[in-house]
């Protein structure tokens, strides 16, 4: 059943990236490959990350003619293409695009697609596929990527005729970017890339079976307002949904009017500037002490665009049992999935907060807010003072991040990988600009950072982009240094080298009697490696060298690589051990 397309079809003027460009939406007798390019242009795409191969060669051939309008970045591994598209999407607030050939090219994308799925990142992935007549014959480089990607895509589709391309691409962008965003994959058989047809493009903004966004339920908003107006100890949980719906301003207005302290999830970071007087820190396993313990003392919990991940809730049965829960969430399947709500607001965060604001009484809760400050003091005494004290032989991760934060005043885009450096960065980098935190939250994908940072820098060349990575994760995707070299992408790479898979080592120390099993790493000379890619590089061995090195890094107009040799056996605290209650967060 085809969805009727009510759109006009004259040439349109689209605004992409602030640039005005004219894109053809009709052209006769084009190949499927050219049609794909025209469709991408019609969607305002000007950047693609990818890797060619047999089954997608016609598309690369068509790209050759459109190089001035559609810039293709040749990654060094398809996983890098998917992560780069994610980094790009997060800063551009629209879908990133990646492409790969069939078989191994397509399967190499999967980790990035899975990451985008669990972290709600809009990406459109294009894969080449063997010709239609070869499907199911175990042809060279044939894999059933539609089936493989099915559980990790919001939607996917195999195109076997050129004429299906416009509608498939229009749907792909609409689905990826609407409602709760996510990855979409379009697999295009080779015959469909070479066939000719008369191309005509119409954007899609409606699919009969798809309801990405519901109207705000005003009766429910009234009930939520009533709860908040009576609350003595309200707490707001800020998730990535706030960034995705661009509800930062409305969120702060609600918090300020009703006097609600705001705590952020890992992916919600940077939605609220860390120096906001009502911002009380970061939730979850290695989050701040206050928001974690006080979750179990608040009377009303207002969760906005977050999904109660187990790294946030700890033991669900002992998570905020005393609280009435208001959940603002666009995805109906997230409502009551983990935490039973008192009031469910199943609509867009921005629109819902807009409706909520005028119903709120102006209130303040100074005593309640003071409790967070008290917790901060405890956390400072038990954790921060130690983390920052220059008492160890080697620099500690926390010292590096603290200094980076001070030198950039929290204004950089910061991409992190997965592990101790990630948790240290998200604890101590105090974002003051929105859409600045690029990390792999739900999947915890080592290797995410470097390509994602590259995508982010390409998306926002005007901003300082820092890539903070562990020595383990760096070696999962370090080949993407080639992209930095080839395209002069001015990412600032900082490898915090503890010669360990630090986070795993920490768990082995705390929960496995210090039986360090396969976590120590003999590393190559990272400086030589960076230099081999023509990237200026420095190593910090001693504390005294840090300041100068950070200045060099931040001042460099080009990419820069910094390796900091950090303490080998530091641990990240506070910590909610897996399966413990948030209130049982450990400070040491």
């Amino acid at each position: 059943m085809k969805t009727p397309l009510p759109m006009p079809s004259q040439p349109e003027t689209l605004i992409a990236n602030g640039k005005e460009a004219h894109y053809l939406v009709e052209k006769d007798n084009v190949t499927g490959a050219e049609a794909l390019i025209l469709a991408l242009l019609a969607e305002g795409v000007d950047t693609v990350f990818g890797y060619p191969g047999g089954a997608i060669m016609p598309v690369y051939d068509a790209l050759y003619d459109y190089q001035d309008q559609l810039k293709h970045y040749l990654v060094r591994h398809e996983q890098g293409a998917a992560h780069a598209a994610q980094g790009y999407a997060r800063v551009q607030k629209r879908a990133g695009v990646c492409m790969a050939t069939s078989g191994p090219g397509a399967t190499n994308l999967i980790t990035g697609i899975a990451d985008a799925m669990i972290d709600s990142t809009p990406i459109v992935c294009i894969t080449g596929q063997v010709g239609k007549h070869l499907l199911g014959t175990d042809a060279f480089q044939e894999t059933d990527v539609v089936s493989i990607s099915l559980p990790v895509t919001k939607w996917n589709f195999q195109v076997t005729r050129a004429s299906e391309i416009p509608e498939a691409i229009a749907k792909a962008f609409y689905i990826a970017q609407s409602g709760r965003p996510g990855p979409v994959l379009i697999d295009i058989t080779k015959n469909a890339q070479v066939e000719k047809f008369n191309f005509k493009y119409q954007k899609i903004n409606k699919i009969r079976s798809y309801f990405p966004k519901r109207k705000v339920d005003l009766a429910a908003v009234d009930r939520a307002a009533e709860l908040l107006n009576q609350a003595q100890r309200p707490l707001m949980l800020v998730g990535q949904g706030v960034l995705l719906s661009q509800a930062q301003a409305e969120l702060k207005q609600v918090a300020e009017r009703a006097g609600i302290p705001m705590a952020s999830t890992l992916l919600g970071l940077s939605a609220v500037e860390a120096n906001h007087p009502l911002y009380v820190g970061y939730l979850g396993m290695h989050g701040n002490y206050g928001p974690n313990v006080l979750t179990n003392q608040c009377d009303v919990l207002l969760a906005v665009g977050m999904r109660f991940d187990d790294r946030v809730t700890g033991d669900v049965k002992r998570y905020a049992p005393q609280a009435k829960v208001i959940h603002i969430e666009i995805d109906p399947a997230e409502i009551d999935k983990i935490i039973k709500t008192t009031v469910a607001l199943n609509s867009d965060a921005k629109e819902t907060l807009q409706a909520l604001l005028p119903r709120l009484a102006a209130r303040q809760h100074p005593d309640w807010l003071a409790r967070f400050k008290e917790c901060d003091r405890t956390e400072y005494d038990k954790v921060l003072s130690k983390d920052f004290a220059p008492t160890t032989e080697k620099v500690k991760m926390a010292e590096v991040i603290k200094r980076l934060n001070e030198l950039t005043q929290g204004t950089a885009i910061v991409a992190t990988d997965v592990g101790q450096h990630q948790m240290t960065t998200t604890r101590y980098y105090h974002f003051t600009q929105t859409d600045s935190n690029i990390t792999s939250g739900g999947l915890g994908t080592m290797g995410f950072c470097l390509p994602a940072a590259i995508g982010a820098k390409i998306g926002r060349p005007d901003r300082q982009v820092l890539a903070i990575i562990g020595d383990g994760g760096f070696q999962m995707t370090l080949q993407e240094l080639g992209v930095i070299m080839q395209y002069h992408v001015a990412v600032k790479v900082i490898v915090l080298n503890n010669n360990f898979l630090g986070m795993v080592r920490q768990w082995q120390q705390l929960f496995f009697d210090r039986r360090y099993s396969s976590v120590d790493m003999t590393n190559p000379d990272f400086i030589k490696l960076a230099e081999a890619y023509s990237i200026p590089a420095r190593r910090v061995q001693h504390r005294e060298e840090l300041e100068g090195a950070l200045h060099d890094l931040l001042a460099s107009p080009t990419a820069f690589f910094l390796e900091v040799m950090v303490e080998k056996e530091e641990n990240v605290f506070p910590m909610v051990p897996a399966g413990a209650a948030v209130a049982d967060i450990r400070l040491e």
Binding site: M1, V146, S147, L150, P151, K154, W155, N156, F157, Q158, I175, N205, K206, I207, R208, S209, Y210, F211, P212, K213, R214, K215, D331, P332, A333, I335, D336, K337, S347, D348, E351
Partner: protein, 180 residues
């Protein structure tokens, strides 16, 4: 504590699209839920398919599963029912040696008593058909067993919900709730 599992019948109305069956099935398999039966057919609305799925699920998980099904882009609407909320039926075929009917009317009586009927008679075998609930088709199976069942097959469940609201009415309501 886990709640005792209940047999639910889940009706899923979808666009008729390749791959959607796989998407729906993985929602169950990913959660280690065995699908007991699955039937797909076109509905009274052209281009709209109906999946009828039966599975044993704990009552506190069923609505989450149905929400995950509805989350699929090409699913129009999904419903779940326990057995009291539906009229349902299954069909079973029994292949018996022709010999079983010769020289005695016992098998014939069994067929009569069970309101089954003979569908086909071939040189070597007879095919019997019975529609009913699983317990009924199973009961006939047990009765026929001593006379040598050569082959037995039971269809998935098909079900019609008792509530009178039509799926297109549900869709209109969803449409009215949506923002464009």
């Amino acid at each position: 504590m886990e709640l005792e599992q209940v047999r639910y019948t889940i009706s899923v109305f979808t666009e008729n699209k390749i791959g959607l069956m796989h998407r729906i099935v993985t929602i169950f398999t990913r959660r280690k839920i065995n699908i007991e039966s699955l039937t797909v057919s076109e509905t009274e609305n052209h281009g709209v398919s109906r999946f009828t799925i039966t599975a044993f699920v704990a009552p506190d998980r069923i609505s989450q599963i149905v929400k995950q099904i509805e989350k699929q882009v090409e699913v129009l609407k999904a419903f779940y029912y326990d057995d009291s909320k539906i009229v349902y039926q299954e069909l079973a075929l029994y292949k018996m040696p022709r010999q079983a009917f010769v020289g005695s009317d016992v098998v014939e009586k069994i067929i009569r008593q069970n309101h089954a009927w003979v569908l086909a008679i071939e040189d070597e075998f007879v095919v019997i058909e019975k529609t009913g609930h699983e317990e009924e088709t199973q009961h006939l199976f047990e009765e026929l067993k001593p006379y040598g069942i050569l082959s037995f097959v039971r269809s998935g469940r098909v079900a019609i919900a008792k509530p009178m609201k039509r799926v297109m009415t549900h869709l209109k309501e969803l449409e009215e709730m949506a923002v464009n």
